[in-house]
Structures are given as C-alpha cells and as structure tokens.
Amino acid sequence: MKARFLFCALALLAGCQGKAPANSVRGDPERGRLALAQHACRACHMIPGLTGPETHVGRSLAGLAERRFIAGSLPNNQDSLVRWIRNPQSVDPRTAMPNLGVSERDALDMSAWLLTAKE
C-alpha cells in the first residue's frame, strides 16, 4: 500500500518534468544499453551511457527522442526505430549503416534505451 502511494507520488513528480515519453516506451532500456554495446553500435555512434571514442562515422544518438524524423524520412516513433535498427537497407538502400542481424527483442530494448537515455 505504502509502495503504491510512493509510486503514485513519483509518477506525479515525473509528470512535473514536462514531457514524459518514458511512460509509453516498450522494452527494457537497461538491457538495451547492453545490447547496443554488444552490437558495436558505439563503434560508429556516440550514445548516452556508453563508453567509447569520440567518433563521427555515424551521427550522435544523444537526444534521439527529441527528433521528429529518423533515418531522414521515418517519423520518429519506437516502431520506426526498431525497423531501422533491424534492417536499415529496407528504409534507405544507400545507407552506410550495415545490417547487424539484430533480433526483434534486442532492437526493441535498444530503442527503449535510445528514446529514454539522458545525457
């Protein structure tokens, strides 16, 4: 009972921060963070919460949730992001981003981290 009250209070407090996209995001962000590291995403992209070199081969993925479009043409939502991560060539045949053979679950978790990660 007490825990539920605390949860509600926290949810209210979170609401005060303005937008709260985290609520509607599916998947496990923390597992997504690990999946991003293990699929070498950080080799080309700067990603909040992941350690690595300063690189500009791919664009920085910081503040991804703020963008209106991803991959140039897709409206920015979690389904688009999962589709892009799993098969970039299906969106843009000429993209330099390779297909890394990411599973549906891994892509969902990755997108959860990217859409909720703070700087």
């Binding site: 690990l34 293990q38 699929h39 080799a43 081969v57 297909n99 890394l100």
Partner: protein, 189 residues
C-alpha cells in the same frame, strides 16, 4: 640544522606520506585479491578511464612511429593487394563499406571501430605502426610476423582509398581476393 619545530613538521609529513602509501597499497591488494574488479567484456570502462587510455595510445603511436620511412603509396596494384589483405584479415573485426564487423568483432571490449575514418585520424606511418605492432590489451593483434612488409604498406595504402569506396566498389576490388593474383584493373582509384 632545522629548528625542533621544523623537524617535527618534516617528521609528521614523512610519516603521513608513508602511512598514506601503506593504506593505498593495502586497499589495492584487498580489491585485487577479493576479485572486486570486473574484467567482463560486457562491462565498460568509465569514460574518463577510456579517454585517458586512448590518449596515451595516440601519443605512444605518434612517438614510436616518428622515425618510420614511408614508401610511395597509392599505386593501383598496391591498393588492390591492400584490398585483398583487408578483406582477409581486417574486415572480420573492423567491417567495411556496407557491412559490419562479424560477431567476434562486435562484442570485443574495447570495440574495434570502423576504418573508414582511419586515414583522417592517423598518418600513414602511424597506421603502419599500429598494423605492424598491434595495440596491447585492446585486442588489436600485431601483424609483423604474419604479413610481409609490402602487404603491411599495401593495407595502409588501401585505407587511404577506403573513405571513397561504396559497398559496390568494395565488392568489386575484393572479388578476386582469394584468387592467386588479383588482376590490376586500375579500377580502385
């Protein structure tokens, strides 16, 4: 001869240093012996640690490669040979135009980066040095005993044209890679 007061200050300072050193050594030993440090490749360095290590590597490579004599680079034959070496030895960990590194390269810690920007980040003599001697504790092997001198320079030469290669160009220049002699079509720019 320092006054009694000054001698006391010096003694206190020395004793403090010795005790602090001793405490640090004991703490270090306990952390080491208890196995608290996480050596898994799923855990990352802290960013400041990573940055300092990378910086140290840069300075080391720059310093050690300063005497290297660079031969003429960029002849079509040499670039084609470099493409063959790259596709056989480098691509599995670094990937290439249109494709990522294989699973073994994806999950290394630190992760081997793409080489498309290598020639913008490093001088040819530095790329030669890194390829020849590898990078300790990074997973980058030394190729000194596995590639000839000519092949080492050929792969450096190839990294110079890599940024301009599309996935299709890359497939073309590496197509004959496994044959006895890659034909010198001069197509590799």
């Amino acid at each position: 001869m320092p006054s009694t007061r000054n001698r006391l200050i010096l003694k206190t300072a020395a004793a403090t240093l010795v005790l602090a050193g001793l405490a640090a050594a004991i703490t270090g030993f306990v952390v080491l012996r208890a196995g608290w440090y996480d050596t898994t490749a799923t855990s990352q360095h802290l960013q400041p640690v990573y940055t300092v290590l990378e910086l140290g590597m840069r300075y080391s490579v720059r310093n050690h490669s300063s005497e290297v004599k660079v031969p003429p680079l960029g002849a079509p034959q040499q670039v084609l040979r470099g493409a063959a070496v790259y596709s056989a030895q480098c691509a599995q960990c670094h990937g290439g135009p249109g494709f990522a590194q294989s699973k073994i390269g994806q999950s290394m810690q630190p992760v081997p980066g793409p080489l498309v920007d290598a020639s913008a980040r490093w001088q040819p003599r530095e790329l030669y040095w890194i390829t020849k001697h590898g990078i300790k504790m990074s997973g980058m092997p030394a190729w000194q005993f596995h590639l000839s001198e000519a092949d080492l320079w050929a792969v450096v030469s190839f990294m110079g044209v890599l940024p301009a290669l599309s996935a299709r160009d890359y497939a073309r220049v590496t197509a004959g890679a496994n044959g006895p002699a890659a034909p010198a079509t001069g197509a590799a720019r």
